[in-house]
Amino acid sequence: MRYRDILDAIGDTPLVGMPRMSPKPGVRLWAKLEGQNPSGSVKDRIAKRMIEAAEDSGALTPDRIILEPTSGNTGISLAMVARRKGYRLTVVIPDNASSERISLLELFGAEIVYSPGEKGTNGSIEVARALARDDRYYMPFQYGNPANPLAHYEGTGAEIVRDLPEVTHFVAGLGTGGTLTGVGRRLHEHNPDVKVVAAEPELGELVYGLRSLDEGFIPPIFDESVLDRKFLVSSSDSLRATRELTEKEGIFAGISSGAVVHAARRIAQELDKGDIVCLLADGGWKYLSTEAWAPEIERAEKGVSETLWW
């Protein structure tokens, strides 16, 4: 395939079967490998879309600095887009994000502002919003930008319909809600009976240091009505599934992918027949420092529990 530039190479990711991961013979599990995007995650889709939308509307001009709160992947994707297009970028990221995320941001030339790790992404949103009051910054705000779900409606969702029209279930992580909202809508248009399922991480003590429940946050772009079910998945279960993906399928994916596959297998248990698409948001590269694939599971669990992997 030939592309004008790296940005045109975003999307159109492989949908691969996972024949050994399904607990039931009549249920097929599929992985959409978003780690195959140029900067390594699904977020390349929304970074490109949000920036191009802002250029088209005139909101983003060459003199403005792009600013975004992120737990890592969106920042990295935006940094790649910014490099290609010549913009400055500042990202606000929790200080307990994995070291690889920080390294990637730095090598892509992003300026980094850290937010308190114990407040997770909620904390980075708070800090970014305060900074964004300065007019020099343009904040795409993935949590509220319709270009986010639109990228998934037109890209990710359309690709799934094209490659697996017989899809019965779609499972993805709930971060901004963009993937679930965009893909969910596209799949429901194709077949209203498709079930859309969210996986949410149980992050433990790591990121629940909110002072009050009013510090909770629900992304404005997330359309709850698109969901049929939502599952909480522990770090431990996510990690085990991630390791099993490598062990049984040769798939090297990030830890949120394990959470998604864990939720998918729970659904599969209830079915006799089905085609379940799992959105694997990124590859395992950024999580090597957590020792997630260490031979001793205890070391892996400790490493993962100390890092923000969502």
Binding site: T176, L210, S212, F217, R229
Partner: protein, 91 residues
């Protein structure tokens, strides 16, 4: 029905610091009423004034979000685990 309830950090001030407590009820609503009886003030941030679930709170029965089950009318059984967590985002 004796049910295990996992409390988020933010609500443990009501339970004397305990992360895991027991409560009784055959629906989530009954369970929360029982919980309020044992730890007064604890459900103020779980159930809103209109009697529904507080917007920024997620409640799970056996790790499944009750908003997609029966919400506060979701049945709970002996041995179930109910988890209460604040809404957090990612990305």
């Amino acid at each position: 029905m004796s049910v295990r309830v996992k409390l988020p950090t933010i609500l443990r001030k009501h339970s004397g610091g305990q992360a895991l407590v027991d409560a009784e009820g055959s629906t989530l609503r009954e369970l929360l009423t029982d919980l309020e009886g044992r730890y007064p003030g604890i459900t103020k941030n779980i159930v809103s004034e209109d009697g529904g679930l507080h917007r920024f709170i997620n409640v799970y029965v056996n790790d499944e979000d009750v908003r997609y089950l029966g919400s506060l009318e979701t049945a709970v059984r002996e041995g179930d685990t109910v988890s209460i967590l604040p809404a957090v985002a990612g990305g």
